[in-house]
Amino acid sequence: MSHPDDLRYSKEHEWVRVDGDKATIGITSFAADELGDIVFVELPEVGATLSQFGTFGVVESVKAVSDLYSPISGEVVAVNEKLRETPELLNSSPFDEGWIARVGSIDSGELDKLMNAAAYADETA
């Protein structure tokens, strides 16, 4: 399984892509495969404040309900509206079209608590 090198990863199988003082977050391909067919995503609201490793939404597969844990603190500035109608993007394109939220006002110091791609690959091996 390949994990993009430009992302940071949490033990809860979320990823974060930093872009200046903003970041995009989502779930990893490992998480998507473990969950199976994702049929519903409960997105955070724009303006909501996320704290690192706190819950920020829910994904449901055919069989199970799972919480989403934010890999980074910040304020939600956008959510992936496409996931409301096509939650299966989390399975087909977890690192790209299946992004979940964009957050602003991030603290880049928090990235130290996350793994790089190589460490995450070991974690999920």
Binding site: G36, D37, V39, F40, E42, V58, E60, S61, V62, K63, V65, R84
Partner: protein, 373 residues
């Protein structure tokens, strides 16, 4: 719980094949069972549109034999197995004296005086205990044998199941109607071939010697390729049976629920004479059940799950017994137990999902009925 240690899971004779196929294995009823091989939704659609193959070898097979086997089963079960002709099968239940359901099961008449009961793996011990206790009273000339461990059960289910099976057997499948069975060979392996299932589609359940199960599986998957066959796990089995409005023990059925509450009063043959649970069930039949199992379709976008609270006009009235996002209908569906007086098609309910109520409407069960020609 049985005496078996927690974490010590049993395996079916097809375990190695499941591992080879990359199945996700989960603990189920004391067995390590495939929940899916790849995508549950794809497996579900395969059964609706082509043919899916299930390993159900965890299920219990009990043989009842003897001059008084009929009398015994009429007393032990709520249905009337005496009405079965040889080869015929019947959906039935074992109940407690208070009418609570011990298990739902299928009875097959193999010969004049030999019957098979196929029960849920999770209730095999309970059904065995109930039947053994009755036999030990000595009132019936019949014997009971648990054949579960040496019997495998493979189920090809779906509209292409008959065409697939026809290429592997000399049996005339047109002669085996719904809820009928026959002894014969499939791919040279002796089987009880039954036209039964738990998916809402046409399909078969093939019972064979556990040692021959891998050969039967391989023959079905190899020949099945041309028929669009895909191995299917318990995940798809659950969504398929839910769409078909079929109850699952532990969800819709338990010892605190009687057959009339779950719309299965027709299974109970009160007129056949004395049987375990008769007085209690007759009382329920006369007064009508207190609760009723209903079908719900969500109006709002939220997925109901087992155990979620059901409200009527803001008041908690019942709970969801099973729910999912229906792969066939594309909407969230559920079955729920509510007070009988609130049950009517079109009635409004709310299901509480993560502490918020979402609107639902009562719809007719089943949610899905297969097209018949």
């Amino acid at each position: 719980m049985s005496a078996q240690a927690v974490g010590e899971l049993r395996r079916t004779p097809l375990h190695e094949l499941h591992v080879e196929l990359g199945a996700r294995l989960v603990p189920f009823a004391g067995y390590e069972m495939p929940v899916r091989y790849a995508s549950i939704i794809e497996e579900h659609r395969t059964v609706r549109g082509a043919v899916g193959l299930f390993d159900l070898s965890h299920m219990g097979e009990l043989e009842i034999q003897g001059d008084e086997a009929v009398a015994f089963l009429r007393y032990a079960l709520v249905s009337d197995p005496g009405a079965l002709t040889i080869g015929q099968a019947q959906y039935s239940m074992a109940c407690e004296a208070d009418g609570g359901i011990i298990d739902d099961l299928i009875v097959y008449r193999r010969t004049d005086d030999t019957f098979w009961i196929v029960c849920n793996a999770s209730n095999r011990d309970a059904v065995l205990a109930q039947l053994t206790a009755l036999l030990e009273r000595g009132d019936f000339g019949a014997t009971l044998e648990d054949r579960s461990d040496r019997t495998a059960l493979l189920a090809p289910q779906g509209p292409h199941a008959a065409a697939l099976l026809a290429t592997l057997t000399d049996l005339d499948l047109d002669e085996i109607g719904n809820y009928r069975s026959a002894d014969g060979t499939v791919a040279g392996i002796e089987c009880l071939v039954a036209r039964t299932g738990y998916t809402g589609e046409d399909g078969f359940e093939l019972f064979c010697d556990a040692r021959r199960a891998p050969d039967l599986w391989r023959a079905l998957t190899t020949t099945g390729e041309a028929h669009g066959l895909r191995p299917c796990g318990l995940g798809a089995r659950d969504t398929l049976r839910l769409e078909a409005g079929m109850p699952l023990y532990g969800n819709e059925l338990d010892r605190d629920t009687n057959p009339f509450e779950v719309n299965l009063g027709r299974v109970v043959k009160l007129e056949k004479g004395e049987f375990i649970g008769r007085a209690a069930l007759q009382a329920v039949q006369q007064t009508g059940p207190r609760r009723k199992l209903i079908g719900l379709q969500m109006i709002d976008h939220a997925i109901p799950r087992a155990g979620y609270e059901v409200r009527s006009e803001g008041r908690a009235v019942g709970h969801v017994t099973s729910g999912t996002a229906s792969p066939t209908l594309g909407t969230p569906i559920a079955m729920a137990l509510v007070p009988a007086e609130l049950a009517a098609i079109g009635n409004a309910f709310e299901v509480v999902v993560r502490e918020r109520p979402y609107r639902a409407e009562q719809v007719k069960l089943p949610f899905y009925k297969r097209p018949r020609d």
